[in-house]
Symmetry: C2
Subunit: 316 residues, 2 copies
Amino acid sequence: MNEFEAINLIVNRLGSVATGEGVTIGPGDDGAVVRFEPEEETVVTSDVLVEQQHFPAGSPAGLVGYRSVAANISDLSGMGARPRYLTIALTTESIDKSWLLAFADGVRACCEETGTIVVGGNLAKGPKSIAITALGSVLSGRSIARSGADVGDDIWLTGAVGASVVALKRLRLPIDGTLEEFMKIRDVDAIARYFLPIPRVDFASLLIEFASSATDVSDGLACELSQLSSASSKKMRVDLDLVPVWDCADWREAVQSDDSYEILFTAPVSKRAEIHSAAAQTKTPVAQIGYVQEGNEVELLTKQGAIEVGVGFSHF
Amino acid sequence: MNEFEAINLIVNRLGSVATGEGVTIGPGDDGAVVRFEPEEETVVTSDVLVEQQHFPAGSPAGLVGYRSVAANISDLSGMGARPRYLTIALTTESIDKSWLLAFADGVRACCEETGTIVVGGNLAKGPKSIAITALGSVLSGRSIARSGADVGDDIWLTGAVGASVVALKRLRLPIDGTLEEFMKIRDVDAIARYFLPIPRVDFASLLIEFASSATDVSDGLACELSQLSSASSKKMRVDLDLVPVWDCADWREAVQSDDSYEILFTAPVSKRAEIHSAAAQTKTPVAQIGYVQEGNEVELLTKQGAIEVGVGFSHF
């Protein structure tokens, strides 16, 4: 099988998520042609997942496919944008048909769940990695940057942090189980949740109604708080007892290095009722974990007082 | 230096090509927010360059940066679109400041030359590769696909094929010379031209006035002709004596495996004067190399009759 045949194999397997409304020309030409609405802006984000750095070597292809797409869509959610289109550039040392098909199944599952269309991609020989670029849409002027947090705002978090910390400790490859089986247990099983983070697209599309700043949690909660803090030139004061932590996770590690792709955002106090209503409407757990003050640092509080945690996860 | 510092290093070095009109939010947030005109469609394309597969290991970083951007913009040109924005996902085993700065210089040179803005990216640890996604704009409904070639149309090619074939035979690393020096000699030096293909963006933006189908030449002329043929369900009949071949290139290799990122297109005979005028206006060499017939194959003719060449270049 050559690369063109392999690409066709993937595109065919993607089925309905490789075509749709707004797509004038889809996969197969030099580029895809897509149409956005005139009153919208386009949000674009790129993320690469490298085998062994971002997922263990030998991870099931379907799970890798889902996680790769979810990681990118999460960045769109962090801007308050709805996912629309994505391209997938895959590098692999050899063309393994069953791996490609399972990978496509994972991509498809996340795209179907989030209403995203795959409009193109690239296949090259090399160490396994997946580079995805996702395009989303947001009403013009209504994207949520990291820079809008204001003094007195609440700090909020969807879901919980720490599933990825637990998963990476427990994970022993090879693991059994189909994509469908993992989908069913991701609310309770850390490994399933690590590979299949829950896209917060419905809740994220409502952020424009109440959020003053937002980001997704891909480099640890402490690091993301630090990003909001420096972009907004404000102090982020978080009560760690209010931060939902995944069962059995070490709370320090959960705050420091988790990438569960939840949404961290700030909002005026006057929006509390609206936020709880949006959460209920979209079945999204939310927690108010702190508030914004004058200053330019992150303060993490426990019952024993302020603590220091290493910020973020550096790959280098 | 951690990855955030390294990203800042690159963004700062990109200077004016990392901000500009139409960019609401640029590099540094979860995603970039960009604005297109309402009467336009967006063209999106992704290409990955893997060290040793797409450029020799140890190639000068500035040249790699330029070529990576040019390869993606060329896909937009092949659709008749104007480049607008791009994201760059770089993976590298270690953060080497001087390499990153030189790479950014190469990216910047190609972006400045083509009016493209870098709106974001990603930096991850892994074997060296560059995954770029480029976004371009085209008047709604006017993108040029591979599928529109009609019987009787002429087949045209910009520039010449074969520089990359000559370059890869001659190349001995390390090579000396700055990006600026290579820019000056790329009209005559195969190695300079290989790393710094000439973006055909001005000519490509006029394709909508006359072309019936188009593609860029990234997988060998024979392969690209075959793509036009199958997408348009027509026969592509090319007279190889009319195909401009780079000095000293083996013509068979030039037709089979060159990736000089020229534009291959078809157009009605009635448009010949307009095409020559567009070529003169944009200082783009063009050659009429054959014509479109009923059928579904590629016919390559020499004075000795039709010949067979291997089609394309498979990386696997």
